[in-house]
Symmetry: C2
Amino acid sequence: MDIQTLRTQHPDHWKKACAIRVLTLDAVAAANSGHSGMPMGMADVATVLFEKHLNFDPTVPKWPNRDRFILSAGHGSMLIYSLLHLTGYADMTLDQIRNFRQWGAITAGHPEYGHADGVETTTGPLGQGIANAVGFAMAEESLRARWGAKVMDHFTYVIAGDGCLMEGVSQEAIGIAGRHKLSRLIVLWDNNGITIDGKVSLSDITDQKARFAASGWDVFECDGHDPVDIDRAITAAKASPRPAMVACATHIALGSSAQDTSKGHGALTDAKLIADTRAAYGWDHGPFEIPADVRAAWAAIGARGRATREAWEARLATLSPAKQAEFARIFAGEAPAKLAGAIRALKKQAAADAPKLATRSASEKVLAVVNPIMPETIAGSADLTGSNNTKTADLGVFDVDNRKGRYVYWGIREHGMAAAMNGMALHGGVRPYSGTFMAFTDYARPSMRLSALMGVPVVYVMTHDSIGLGEDGPTHQPVEHLAISRATPNTLVIRPADLVEVAEAWEVALTQTSTPTVLALSRQNLPAVRKTHTAQNMVARGAYVLAEAEGKRQVILMATGSEVEIALKAREMLQAEGIGTRVVSMPSMELFAQQDEAWRKKVLPAGPVRIAIEAGVRQGWDRWLLGERGREAKADFVGMSSFGASAPYDRLFREFGITAEATVAKAKALL
Amino acid sequence: MDIQTLRTQHPDHWKKACAIRVLTLDAVAAANSGHSGMPMGMADVATVLFEKHLNFDPTVPKWPNRDRFILSAGHGSMLIYSLLHLTGYADMTLDQIRNFRQWGAITAGHPEYGHADGVETTTGPLGQGIANAVGFAMAEESLRARWGAKVMDHFTYVIAGDGCLMEGVSQEAIGIAGRHKLSRLIVLWDNNGITIDGKVSLSDITDQKARFAASGWDVFECDGHDPVDIDRAITAAKASPRPAMVACATHIALGSSAQDTSKGHGALTDAKLIADTRAAYGWDHGPFEIPADVRAAWAAIGARGRATREAWEARLATLSPAKQAEFARIFAGEAPAKLAGAIRALKKQAAADAPKLATRSASEKVLAVVNPIMPETIAGSADLTGSNNTKTADLGVFDVDNRKGRYVYWGIREHGMAAAMNGMALHGGVRPYSGTFMAFTDYARPSMRLSALMGVPVVYVMTHDSIGLGEDGPTHQPVEHLAISRATPNTLVIRPADLVEVAEAWEVALTQTSTPTVLALSRQNLPAVRKTHTAQNMVARGAYVLAEAEGKRQVILMATGSEVEIALKAREMLQAEGIGTRVVSMPSMELFAQQDEAWRKKVLPAGPVRIAIEAGVRQGWDRWLLGERGREAKADFVGMSSFGASAPYDRLFREFGITAEATVAKAKALL
């Protein structure tokens, strides 16, 4: 539908959509950067969605049963900022719009979770939003099954562009959604045929409708500028028993001289272009000026959801007080009160039993205790269930006919899994953890970074955490992945050494509220190293003295996970030669860095020779070996400086020199 | 087709395929680990492929015009090891098979490029092989167009499993191949319906044939055990004008009690199971024993390609000596002799002009000189052509009707792009470089790791390398990505500071033969810092003294890329206070680490206070700040310890404290 027809046939709609378009033009011009074309192209679809379908209430933005709206094509951030402003989200003032992309504004270049109410997830890295949305929809299905439709019953809407659909993660997301018949998930595809480099056909000829249908989606089409047609298509999509994709035929940068071109994708800042576009729109108001009638029309849209929200609150109030408290707890992301006691009991038993276990198996033992008392956990694995040890007996399998099941067979889709976990955690009411091999964090990296950037407390159960996995060889052996995870801001990396430390690690991970955790767990069996029970969670201190030096303290050995055993052996050998040696277990550098200086100095006093032992690269260790300001100690490292190899694991440790003998030699060389 | 029918109707074929199956059983049993089911399931398809279609010659394994065979489902490594052994690759002895997955053997758990002849690429991380194959096929198309079919004219065959097809990267690969009508690419899908966790239907209901067809592939089917049907399907696939996928219906772990189960995916080591399976096969030979008639039959298959290879050599010999030398050069991956002179001339001019330029623009200027003298380069970008500055005027666009074009519009597919670059480099005859934003190295990580593990000299042009990109905000601002790249073994990271350093960086990158390079380039303009011409490539030294201290040397400032400017300003301020300050430009830590100790001590003598300045995380710097054994210097760091933010870039540098003033303050605090 062209602009003239639209203005004539749907004047009220046109003005509302136009408000989005001109706010976009004005904000991008003020910032002298940004993306104009997408909001200009999708304004009609978004207007119809917000006016006729989306359940939301700007006065209570985080109402748990709201529909979720996810702008997967996050570069078009002015679309969502305009919508939030026009519908009356209190924090999205006109000043924020004027300060688009400026320091301190909540109107970041791409929508950032936690900045503005109504932004459900951080988008911009393409494909993430659509994959998050799968997690949102799964969380909704799970909660609806377990709490009933009167408490949880909503849709998740996504606006996705060609970029989102070209990224591989979108295929993983489409596959998961199709398999699980997530009928409350609706993707509105901004089918404008343009990418940054030019026409989509420069790089892709995929029939997207056929592609979605191939994975079990229902597919609809509409003229993305005709409000009646848009409404019809969304209505049909909502009625579909499968996830639905609506191909919205749109014109990028509608009405400007850059319409239907890649120039229109970016920042349209030329004054004449903007003036001409306003004229084409018949919009004769000044920059950032929204006439009263349009404001009122949008305000009415914003007010639409209040009654629905209040009705939901009334329904929630009919639950028993205990149920209401539980609902509040899981949406607040608080661990249950009994978690601490359960972990303590498990630790006590573990210290007494001192089992020889792979830490991945230890993790399963802890989860067997945790899952029954934390019904909010949703678990899974990227097709490595038996290897990641993430499935406990009580969980049940999440499936089309068992939405109460809490275990997800993600398939061979690490990236989609991580993105969906982010979506689940952002939805609230569930606490996701899932696993793959540590080396394949690579596949999930873009979403793991977003976990950290958004501060969502998901748990990545990364097993097979070193050359200790043995024969599968270097493709499967992480070497740099601990360093990679540690290099990422706001990421908690924990590499526990035995069952006691694993229990402590899980307690730390499950009580996080704004930080994701990477648990690095061994494939191979490890001896117990914590055989004396302490009520205190020592992993929470990041590092602690596991074995004190006898006699004069000349050497401090630091290690994590499977290498703590080596440190203890090396200590025995050094002590036998009269060299006083302390062993520090350092399951988490991040937690250690958060301790006060007194603790850090107590654990790592300046002076003694320091050797760190970890079957990964050295990068990241120097801070603790050498001291942040330097000159604290002579130091050396026992670990990897190359990729691994395929062989039985004990042979690999020997060949790569990660042994007690090598540790002793390096320590003595520095004494 | 069941075993009994197969044995009866195709006894000769059956015995050949059986040899693969029993070698697999025997090797996995000996290793007590590995994956039996896939080779047992795909033995018939592979036998027909090698017997009837694949052009190869075990006596000259790297013959450039051979067909390429890629086992994307790399866990089934015994399939390819068996094939290589049976067809007569000299290095693949029976002892190597007996030593499957043992230290020092070329029969690693997953096929490793560079270990065994005939292994064209490292596979195991799923989806990589099929995505590599796209690059192989593109290289073939490009070379065929430019050198003629008499020199280059071959197919690329892939065996892919459900895991490969579930990984998102496969969608990117399928999209690229479909768009470019890569008709010489044939994917044989091992459609066995089983993954590690159970049936494929646990996690996926995708109609793979429809999915491939949606992206422009031709799709075929066959009974993956019936040699006649397999032959028919492959023959049809070869004749197709589009890339072809053959859905091969197979039984995982055929003939064993684990057939058609997820148990069959892994290591079948039970003695009774193996004995029963041998009996079902009618194979009454001992472990690792191949009867003479079967050996002879396979030897004949191995001998099949010799004449074809010799005919090709004869055709190649008809080229002019200069052409032959050029062909040899590009397949050896050697830079042309005139590269050095061209770079030197450019550097001289740049030192004289001292332009203020973003290093991404500087890179384009260098490429404008390089590309005309290196016809083997193939360039591209993941839909950021104008931002990555990877396209120079002379390249032309690689397209269906212009296979000579050397610029690829990869689309929004960083992962597929990186994997295809690996494939191109492995194919030989072309030297790929391509770009995206530095932050989106995350998307390409699994393939970038494989570049390093395989040692393929691709070049990643990663622009927008810090918060210096400004308003796009934290999703687009790399913070940890330099550390991530540096943590990866065998990866050269270069972050040049101006046009001269960019020219030197490209010379280093383009003369690598077994190491990939990550070029980190700025979005923002930077002043020239190398204004005096030196013939020597200083970037190749890793770090060097850019500005010497005047008076007593009390401080050494180290910086890379855009922060060298800040170091120079801080030096001025410190010198003004009488504090002698050296500035070290350190474009590459890896290259610096490779220098002899004399150079390293000359550049970084012990004693003076050291401050490093880089708009990324500190991880990786401590080695140079503190000395590897510690105690070399007091030191501090000016950089990032959190994610970035959305604002103009100068504001960001100020807000995050990456300034000359902050540098001076930190230096003085340590003096």
